[in-house]
Amino acid sequence: MPGEFLDQIFIAAKRWLLSFLAGAPDWILQIASSLINILVLLHLFLGLFALMSVLERKILGRIQNRYGPNRVGPFGLLQPVADGIKMLIKEDIVPLRADKVVHFLAPIATVVPAILALGVIPYGRNMTPFAIDGGILFFFAVGSTTELAVFMAGWGSNNKFSMLGAMRAIAQMVSYELPLILTVLPVVMIVGSLSPDAIVAAQEGYKFGLVPHWFVFTPWGFAAFLLFFVSGLVESNRTPFDVPEGESEIVAGHMTEYSGFKYATFFLAEYFGMFAVTGLAVTLFLGGWHAPVAALQFIPSYLWFFLKLGALVFTFVWIRGTLPRTRVDQVMNFAWKFMLPMAFTCIIAAAVWHYQAGGFAGWFWSLVVVATVYLALSRLLDTRRKFAPRTYRFAE
């Protein structure tokens, strides 16, 4: 059927490319296949990054009641080209007493984990670049090396603001790794496998042909999705959690002493991290490449994946345009006092849901568990500071 052909069109194209090497030994075929996967992945996400950089500015502009960039091309769509040329021809300034090797390696060490993490996400039916059995573990292992790269950037610049920014960034990223990983745990528990392909496969099927079996439509899955989304927002250092790059506070944090293409590399790493985290959120909670209703399954699977990815990334930009920056102690309190207990609750709620074998009692009791802990936390965590009565000295 034509839907099937469109769905697997990229797999067929790769098979056609590999048929030119038909007689070669096995290891050459493996290397060629991996190379094609890597090249397509890189080009696709670099293109998405370019599109995203201009779309974000336009969406932010519209939220702020102005046009975004619209000079360079129809609707400003050639803006990334202009940005790229600007970044490339800027002078590369390295501070005199900066640590040359560490300063140079830091942007590279930030980008590499992000690209590696993009490799295990299933983008469509049979379209995972590298289907590893412990895919989720690989994703988080690689994501945790980003913190070291941020430290290298902050320390290698020999600048107090960079060091401060790096320490804040690491504190924030380490604190929010815990809720990020703990909210993935219920999904892995229910599916019984760490492989993203298995997790997507466990979310197929529709109730009454209408409601999909995505994990976000379960009580624990909804809570876990929200927690994962917020943790992803923090891990990518996006507003409202962009304390590490707060321009009014610490210049540009750990990226202060980087100019030109190295700054573009940090920017690239941030966006790739955003794509990786939202891609994982789509895989774990929003059903991966499955269609929302059974009737729409003729639309190719990769289109559904990128539609969902686009919706989540749009939400990221929307939140950036709407919310002000949080204070660094508010960020920490939120992580350790609220998100960590809620993440543990999701695990318990998922267990309750699972052991009732999907009956109505399971849904009800798991909702009760999540709601009880949420209400208890919002009561017990007294964040209403007591203020002294305001005294106005001049406005009488």
Binding site: G134, L137, A141, L148, W155, G192
Partner: protein, 160 residues
């Protein structure tokens, strides 16, 4: 193919470890230690222990390396003059190396063929942890809780 990979990974790991032991600047040494950690993770992956290899990257590079680096950063540096090469130290190291080499080459168990085992899945690790090794798991959990509480006690401010 396997032995080529082994030699490559071994070279990288040993180079990283050597650099970590001998570089004059401490932060450079810490970062080279990270390369050594990565090399060990590559060894685990080469041996087919996927979970352990990824957990090695997760724990060592993601947490222990950051701990080491922060410790170096936050403690006062005493700038000692660099130590001269000591012949007595080199002699002791060579003697230990020779002894270990003799002991390893004279073990008889190296001559047997390894029995075929099925690949270790995470599921199997989980099952074994919850049945055969549940007491060590609980003890490790207790130890980690004690460490967490100790860290909190160390940094807590006293009420004035």
């Amino acid at each position: 193919m396997n032995s080529v990979a082994f030699i490559l990974i071994a070279t990288v790991t040993l180079a990283g470890a050597l650099a970590a032991a001998t570089l004059p600047k401490l932060i450079h040494a810490a970062l080279c230690l990270v390369i050594a950690f990565g090399g060990i993770a590559a060894f685990y992956l080469l041996l087919g222990a996927e979970f352990v290899g990824l957990a090695q990257i997760f724990v060592y590079v993601g947490a222990v390396a950051i701990l080491i680096v922060f410790t170096i950063l936050l403690t006062r540096r005493d700038v000692d003059p660099p130590v001269r090469f000591q012949w007595s130290g080199a002699l002791v190291a060579l003697a230990v190396f020779g002894g270990l080499l003799w002991a390893i080459l004279h073990t008889t168990s190296l001559n047997t063929v390894a029995p075929p085992i099925d690949a270790l899945t995470v599921k199997r690790i989980g099952q074994v942890l919850m049945t055969d090794y549940v007491w060590p798991l609980q003890c490790v959990g207790l130890l980690l809780t004690a460490a967490l509480l100790g860290a909190l006690v160390l940094v807590m401010e006293e009420k004035p």
